[in-house]
């Protein structure tokens, strides 16, 4: 076991880990942030997506020991002061989810997109979530929720 510290959602989180444990496993099992879901554990479904230094990554493919000096943001850190991020609100309003399992990964990936592109085309939105699967087949409303969130964010800024 190795003692490490991870900077997650602005908090310094201590964790005792084995070297081969992924960031996803440590977030879920050691730090208790189960909003990051692990559907495949091999980088093929997108549900474990978190932001590492602002970039979306599959946390199942990244070793926890490898991101000790990084700024990690998970779905739990997307809302600020108990106010939902516009993406979270539009996902609710537009029914951009069914079972909800892919939702955290979708929202995190969409946030990464909107942080650098405030006015994406539908194709750009689909490409940003291109590595994310939704077995419930909710794509039409997921895309709509992301487009609407972009509009909300543009009108606020």
């Amino acid at each position: 076991m190795i003692q490490i510290y991870l900077n997650v959602n602005g908090e310094e989180c201590p964790a005792n880990v084995k070297p081969h444990w992924s960031l996803a496993v440590v977030l879920r099992e050691q730090i208790g942030l189960t909003g990051t879901k692990t559907g495949c554990e091999m980088g093929t479904c997108g549900s474990c997506t978190v932001l590492v230094d602002g970039k979306p990554i599959f946390s199942c493919l990244r070793m926890a020991v490898d991101v000790q000096d990084c700024d990690i943001q998970t779905i739990e850190g997307i809302e600020t002061d108990d106010v939902l991020h516009p993406l979270q609100q539009t996902f609710i309003d537009d029914h951009g989810m069914q079972c909800g399992f892919c939702t955290p990964g979708m929202i995190v990936a969409a946030k990464a997109l909107l942080d650098k592109n405030s006015d994406p085309s539908e194709q750009e939105v689909r490409e940003a979530i291109g590595g994310h699967l939704c077995r419930c087949g909710t794509y039409v409303r997921i895309v709509r929720a992301i487009m609407n969130a972009a509009e909300v964010m543009r009108s606020k800024s």
Binding site: I75, E76, I78, C99, G100, F101, E127, I129, G137
Partner: protein
């Protein structure tokens, strides 16, 4: 008749939407670790069929950190009932031992280890020494049912007794026909492939057991554990969490039993989480069909007779003898016969998946009907409009008829309540521009260089629940502030069942949706509710929800009548306020009524509405759908893509349009997967699944296919609460035929799912010859 509603019919947000978008919603794998909890891993068979001659677990048991090891020899009930004793799932999706001494498919359970963490459990698994004696394995249904074929499994025959439905005189029917078309159809192996990997935590306290797992079958799991371990229902408490998609996968599954068994031996809570590989290779898949269809019809296109023989591959542990459904009735003929036979093979167990029975049989029927229409050169839209069933027709093949026969030796008639099929067919045809695009059988709608386009269509139906799924016991409690608590055992798997049941309650009670808190998923707390499958939620469960709300409302109006000095019959509730009909200014807010002491009791009232009721089966509400597709095939690359897809559905009153649209879109995407890239590939020699992951078993992503166009024909169903019928399962059923038919018209060759580029290339080559 359609009533005026203020909640029903609105796309209100999901009650658990906040939990989902914030990552707070807990699926089984997210349930926090318990003190002293250990983690389990399973040793699985590398052989499709073998006997465990000897098994040595001593090294595994000796490993530091291991708390228990169980094999087929363990007596975990204390009643001389070993893990090798069969149990059964009430759905017929599983029957056999939880750990069989005779392993019957690659991946079958051989031993389970619990240890301080998964790494130690895995190491212990590798220390178990097993000697197997290989037995002959059968992977093919037709081989399996041949006389003298080796037994697939020791606890049942290779072929179950056929379930037969027949009406009229089939021979006379075919005798009257001008033409007869015979056709054989099969398709690939689809898996439910939810994103979530399920988990089960089990914990014994003395002779009481509690388990936590994601499921749509709350009470069936309780009843199966109760039966196998010979416990009272009072000693079995099942906590069901929402599923990260289920589609029929997460019912009573064997891995849950393994967790219960090893937790008992380990004397501590044990958690078993499946890997992606295990989700796809050891739980369940859709039954692979092999269907022989025969249709007799007149020169003018009138169908007179139809017969089907539907073999269903049950795999090693599936036990289904009837796929529940009644799609064969969608064409009304005087004479008919349908036979279902469940067949065992030494492959991954098979069982229900979204649209079970109706998807496979509809595909076979519809393709044969296309061939019939082609024979007389009739437009498929016209052929279907001529023959489809209508409200009041008899459902000859309803499983309720079969159960009435099995349980009571009676043969009742079941009548169809409503059908918007004619509207779905004709309006759907208009939406896709059928008249312009239809150029005749096997003829492309357009050709542009190497790109051929074709159109196709198909219809289907599905149940809105079945009566023998059981009683529904629902309560609605009114809080002092006028908010309410609805208890229900409805499963939550993305269909929004908690939200739409609450909408029914809110509509009756004259309050807002957010006033209702739904408490679900606990067998000690909620009343028995039908296992959430077969699209029963809105048509059947919500009858009890509505009745419970009406019961609560009756009590509320009684108290309000005293307060307002009015006859309760003259009162109603809207906008969270009781008012006098005709004099709306006289009234009282619910929060005031519920918090105000009543003189006689010196206390404020407590209102609990309840209803526990079965569903009478003599009338059946069924959803109807017509799907239309235009596809494009590039003859250079053999790639097929959808250009346009129109889904026209009759699910009665649409209770929540956004929820229903999502359901239809989901059915389309899942069936598009079945049509193109989803197929579990079994190794021909070993029976092992070669593609148990999302890389090699590809489900549709956001860039793969265009979204469908979705329309609803809202035919009010007199038997459904607020006119509603079911929706969740049938949405998959007509997609494969619409696609396959469009491919046929583009290419001139019939292909069955999965319609891969390899098959398309083969078809192009055969056509060029």
């Amino acid at each position: 008749m359609k009533e005026k509603t203020s909640i029903i019919g609105k796309s209100l947000p999901l009650l658990d939407g906040f939990e989902k978008v914030t990552g707070r919603l807990k699926y089984a794998g997210d349930v926090p670790a318990m003190p002293r909890m250990h983690h389990a891993k399973v040793l699985r068979s590398p052989y499709a069929h073998a006997k465990v001659v000897s098994i040595d677990v001593s090294k595994a048991e000796a490993l530091r950190g291991v708390s228990a090891v169980i094999t087929h020899m363990d007596d975990i009930t204390g009643r001389k009932k070993t893990c090798n004793s069969p149990w059964h799932d009430f759905s017929f999706n599983f029957r056999g031992p939880m750990i069989s001494q005779e392993v019957c498919y690659v991946g079958d359970e051989v031993a389970v280890v619990s240890a301080v963490d998964e790494d130690v459990a895995k190491e212990a698994i590798s220390l178990i020494e097993v000697e197997y004696e290989e037995l002959p394995a059968i992977f093919d249904m037709e081989e399996s049912i041949k006389p003298g074929a080796p037994a697939v499994r020791p606890w049942g025959p290779n072929a179950l007794d056929p379930s037969v439905f027949s009406w009229g005189d089939i021979e006379q029917g075919f005798g009257e026909a001008d033409y007869i078309i015979e056709n054989r159809v099969t398709m690939g192996n689809q898996q439910h492939a939810p994103l979530d990997r399920n988990a089960c935590i089990a914990n014994w306290e003395g002779d009481k057991v509690a388990l936590w797992t994601s499921t749509q079958a709350l009470f069936w799991i309780r009843d199966a554990v109760t039966e196998f371990f010979e416990l009272s229902p009072n000693n079995v408490r099942v906590h069901s969490t929402p599923t990260g998609g289920s589609f029929g996968l997460w019912w009573g599954n064997n891995f849950m039993f393994l967790a219960v068994a090893i937790a008992r031996k380990a004397k501590r809570p044990v958690r078993l989480v499946l890997t992606r590989d295990e989700v796809m290779t050891t739980v369940k898949r859709r039954e692979k069909p092999l269907i022989d269809a025969k249709i007799g019809f007149k020169k003018d296109g009138t169908m007179v007779s139809q017969s089907y023989r539907h073999l269903m591959d049950n795999g090693a542990y599936g036990n289904k003898f009837d796929p529940y459904q009644s799609v064969a009735d969608i064409y009304t003929t005087k004479h008919g016969r349908v036979e279902f036979i469940g067949v065992a093979t030494n492959l991954l167990p098979a069982g229900c998946m979204r649209g079970v029975g109706d998807l496979t049989l509809a595909y076979a029927m519809e393709q044969t009907i296309d061939m019939a229409a082609e024979k007389i050169n009739m437009d498929p839209v016209e052929f279907r409009l001529k023959n489809h069933w209508q409200s009041g027709d008899i459902c000859h093949t309803s499983q309720e008829v079969l159960f009435a026969k099995l349980l009571f030796n009676k043969e009742p008639e079941v009548e169809l309540t409503s059908s918007g099929l004619a509207e779905c067919i004709s309006k759907g045809a208009e939406k896709i521009g059928w008249k312009d695009k239809w150029k005749g059988w096997g003829k492309p709608s357009s050709v542009d260089g190497t790109k051929l386009r074709g159109v196709g269509m198909g219809i289907s139906t599905h149940i809105s629940g079945l009566a023998f799924f059981g009683f529904n016991g629902i309560t609605l409690k009114v809080n002092p502030d006028g908010t309410m608590v609805l208890t229900t055992g409805i499963g939550r798997m993305g269909q929004g069942g908690d939200t739409t049941q609450a909408m029914v309650a809110a509509e009756v009670m004259g309050v807002e949706l957010e006033d209702i808190n739904v408490v679900d998923g606990d067998t000690d707390v909620v009343g028995h509710t039908m296992v959430t499958f077969g699209s029963n939620g809105m048509h059947m469960v919500s009858r009890a929800t509505k009745a419970a709300a009406e019961h609560a409302k009756e009590q509320l109006l009684e108290f309000a009548g005293r307060e307002l000095e009015a006859n309760p019959e003259d009162l109603d509730i809207k906008n969270r306020r009781v008012y006098v009909k005709g004099s709306e200014e006289i009234g009282i807010e619910l929060k005031d009524l519920m918090s105000k002491p009543i003189y006689e009791y010196l206390s404020a009232p407590e209102v609990i509405g309840s209803a526990s009721q079965g569903v009478e089966f003599h009338k059946a509400g069924k959803m109807m759908m017509a799907d239309f597709a235009e596809v494009e095939i590039d003859t250079r690359t053999a790639q097929m893509k959808v250009i346009q897809f129109v889904a026209y559905h009759d699910s009665g009153t649409v209770v929540n349009p956004a929820v229903c649209e999502n359901q239809v879109a989901g059915g389309y995407y899942q069936s598009m997967g079945l049509c193109t890239t989803e197929n579990l590939v079994f190794d021909e020699d070993t029976g092992a699944i070669l593609n148990p992951n999302f890389m090699d078993y590809k489900i549709m992503g956001p860039l793969d296919m265009p979204d469908p166009e979705i329309y609803f024909e809202e035919v009010y169903d007199e038997d459904g609460p607020f006119g509603a019928k079911g929706i969740g399962e049938g949405v998959t059923c007509a997609v494969p035929i619409a696609i396959s038919s469009a491919v046929y018209n583009a290419l001139g060759v019939r292909l069955d799912p999965p319609m891969t580029p390899a098959k398309i290339l083969e078809a192009l080559k055969s056509k060029a010859k």
